[in-house]
């Protein structure tokens, strides 16, 4: 009845612990401390070579079907790998979206041809996907999407602008949402667009921390084959919200400041109340993410629970960065070697915006609760 009713405690099995140890050993070797500037969770650096190496270990596309190059492994196993990556601030950005979001989407609703075309490359870490959803007039309100796809020559012609697209600068593909009819929700369709297609323009929008992986993507008379449609024509709304929903409860929602928290916890004079709250919260969120992954592995779709976790975990991430910054004081240029905290302070607002704002999530969660009462 209530969201909690579904959350069951779980812990790692022996074989899962073995995987954890294996990943740790590999990362200790491949990514020793000091070898890379640590990043902030899923917003870390992009490193195609690292992603390819990870793919070679079988640690990308883990939950994709083996017949398309995937690992056929569980959500929990994928979480174990991701935990180890994010807690080190590893450079995950090149493969992140494809591994987490686009790959599973294609596996779920893609055609045979699409699965064969994209999934193996995703599992190898070769393909970098970016998400083309937001537009200047359509941020939280995706039904306001105006970029349009019209049938043309047996395929489609798309025109319009997508904005705030993370990682488009180095993406090989964009999974975009376009309007194929005027029906607010029913008129949206997802397309897979190769970024080399003529008419695709990608321009960086400088992010608040000075980085350049936030992009504006323009589509000027871009001609696509009919095979570019992902799933159903007019089914983009449902496919897209489904895609988002389960990812909300993942470890990436509370591990963004992982490296900072670990350093802070080691300081003897850290404020004990704030450190205690951070430690207890990290422990609690880890348990919730693991329980959600376990539910996914038993075929459940705990969409409400995932939203519940994201809403508070991302606020926790911000609280923690604020506590550390208050304690540490002067914030240097984010580009300096000691600039990780500054980058976190600047990027933190995005954590409660991307993937569903706090405000939107609260409405979604509350509506679900009200619906359940009336049931």
């Amino acid at each position: 009845m209530t969201p909690r009713a579904a959350l069951r405690p779980t812990s790692l099995t022996e074989s899962e612990r073995a995987l954890q140890q294996q990943v740790r050993r590999w990362l200790a070797d491949r990514l020793p401390v000091g070898s890379h500037p640590p990043g902030l969770g899923m917003a870390a650096a992009a490193d195609p070579v690292f992603s390819a190496d990870l793919g070679a270990q079988g640690w990308l596309g883990m939950s994709l079907p083996p017949e398309y190059g995937g690992g056929g492994r569980t959500a929990v196993e994928r979480q174990i790998v991701v935990e180890e990556l994010l807690s080190r601030g590893a450079p995950v950005a090149y493969h992140w979206v494809a591994d987490r979001q686009s790959g599973p989407s294609i596996a779920a609703v893609g055609s045979e041809e699409q699965k064969a075309t994209y999934l193996p490359g995703i599992a190898r870490g070769e393909f970098c996907f970016a998400i083309g959803m937001s537009e200047p007039g359509a941020g939280s309100d995706l039904a306001a999407v105006r970029a349009r796809a019209v049938p043309a020559d047996g395929g489609w012609r798309i025109d319009g602008t997508k904005i705030w697209t993370s990682g488009a600068a180095w993406a090989t593909h964009i999974l975009g949402l376009f309007r194929t009819s005027d029906d607010r929700h029913g008129g949206l369709t997802q397309f897979i667009v190769d970024t080399r297609t003529p008419g695709v323009g990608i321009a960086p929008i400088t992010f608040i921390d000075g980085s350049k992986d936030f992009c504006e993507v323009t589509f000027d008379n871009v001609v696509l084959p009919s095979s570019a449609v992902l799933g159903e024509v007019g089914g983009g709304w449902g496919q897209n919200t489904g895609e988002l929903a389960l990812e909300r409860g993942g470890v990436d929602r509370w591990l963004s400041p992982a490296v900072l928290v670990d350093e802070w916890a080691a300081q003897p004079d850290a404020d004990s109340r704030e450190l205690a709250l951070a430690a207890a919260s990290l422990w609690a969120f880890r348990g919730m993410s693991l329980s959600i992954a376990r539910m996914v592995d038993t075929g459940q779709r705990p969409v409400q629970l995932a939203a519940l976790v994201k809403e508070m975990a991302t606020r926790f991430e911000q609280d923690t960065v604020e506590a550390v910054s208050r304690w540490q004081g002067r914030l240097p240029d984010p580009d300096e070697p000691a600039g990780l905290l500054s980058r976190a302070v600047l990027a933190a607002p995005s954590w409660t915006i991307r993937g569903g704002t706090t405000e939107i999530l609260r409405t979604v969660i509350a509506k679900g609760m009200i619906r359940d009462v009336h049931r």
């Binding site: 209530t2 909690r4 807690s87 450190l275 951070a278 207890a280 609260r362």
Partner: protein, 350 residues
């Protein structure tokens, strides 16, 4: 060996919830504030074995683990049961760990006798804030100085009654040497007792948080202002979401801490669970009252039965600066995230 699947006894929990929902409506809870522990309710619960769940059968218990004790306390707390279930359980556990057991058909409470003198089998000294002492037949006292536990009877003469913010007894016990006392050697440290108390108190808080979340949601869906159910207003929805998060987070945290405690002291997990329970209790009480408005500020509506317990329980058995410091010390002792991801006894080994 407990596995990834070790979990809560849902059937037991359901039975407890159903029993208290039937036998312990708000009127019974309110009545206990002046009338003390309702003995018929206690007898019925005892007959079903609830107060002795988690205590070995060899020690007169109902069997099961602390995970089952958690289920009982949570289920009873959902109805704000005015019974010394936690205290009785700790008393039975102290005795069981010491090779003893509680008398049958009794109502026990528990205390730590920091300043109690043991002389030739008699006890002398005062113990403040003993929960339900007025109602209990038996007082079990941990005596850290001598490494013993005392089963005390006939202590009513020296009692000065008091109450906590929830209206439940918290009494001053004066032991004069005239009491009937059984002393046993006891391996349990005050630290171990405090940890188990913290876990069980957090379990109670998790039950109250469920009740508060449910009551508030139902109220918000029914109550109309400005022509619509208040649950449709964004400002109210923010409170409802917080309440659901409190229930979900504390509920899982308590279960995980209980499971961890089956294999190790689990000080980090138990303190984390209690800290989260305390913090969410504070925030949930605030949110629930804000949604209810003036109605919730009266004793005519049952919300107070729950929020007063949130306040009573968030401020005992692990709270405030001491709890925060002990947890922060553990967090700083080793790479924090590694320890959490390992989910093992990292805090003891580093």
């Amino acid at each position: 060996m407990y596995t990834a699947e070790t979990s809560f006894d849902e059937d037991l929990l359901d039975a407890v919830i159903q029993f208290f929902a039937d036998q312990c409506p708000p009127a019974v809870v309110a009545q206990a504030e002046s009338g003390g522990v309702p003995r018929p309710l206690w007898s019925d619960a005892l007959a079903l074995g609830f107060p002795m769940v988690g205590i070995d059968e060899a020690a007169g218990g109902s069997g099961g683990t602390v995970l089952d004790t958690v289920a009982v306390l949570r289920g009873a707390a959902r109805s704000a049961a005015p019974l010394p279930l936690l205290e009785h359980s700790l008393a039975a556990w102290l005795l069981a760990r010491s090779g003893g057991e509680l008398p049958a058909e009794t109502c026990a409470t528990v205390a730590v006798g920091d300043s109690v003198e043991v002389t030739g089998g008699t006890l002398r000294g005062r113990i403040a804030d003993v929960a339900f002492a007025v109602d209990a037949d038996v007082l079990v006292v941990l005596l850290p100085e001598t490494g013993q536990v005392a089963l005390v009877q006939d202590f009513a003469d020296g009692l000065i009654p008091g109450r906590d913010i929830a209206g439940m007894d918290r009494d001053l016990v004066s032991l004069t040497g005239a009491e009937s006392v059984l002393l046993l050697s006891c391996p349990v440290t005050t630290e171990e007792l405090a940890l188990r108390a913290a876990l069980l108190r957090a379990a109670q808080l998790s039950g109250v948080l469920q009740a508060v979340a449910e009551l508030t949601l139902r109220f918000a869906v029914q109550r109309e202002q400005f022509g619509a159910p208040i649950a449709t207003f964004q400002a109210v929805q923010a409170h409802l979401v917080l309440l659901a998060q409190a229930e979900a987070t504390v509920g899982l945290a308590v279960e995980r801490a209980a499971i961890a405690s089956l294999e190790r002291p689990a000080a980090f997990e138990i303190r984390s669970a209690k800290l989260l329970a305390n913090e969410f209790a504070r925030e949930a009480a605030r949110a629930a009252h804000q949604v209810h408005g003036a109605i919730g500020m009266t004793r005519e509506y049952p919300l107070h039965l729950f929020t007063r317990r949130l306040h009573a329980w968030r401020t005992v058995d692990g709270h405030g600066p001491d709890l925060e410091r002990s947890l922060a010390d553990m967090a700083g002792r080793a790479p924090l995230l590694r320890g959490i991801l390992d989910d093992s006894d990292w805090q003891a080994t580093r």
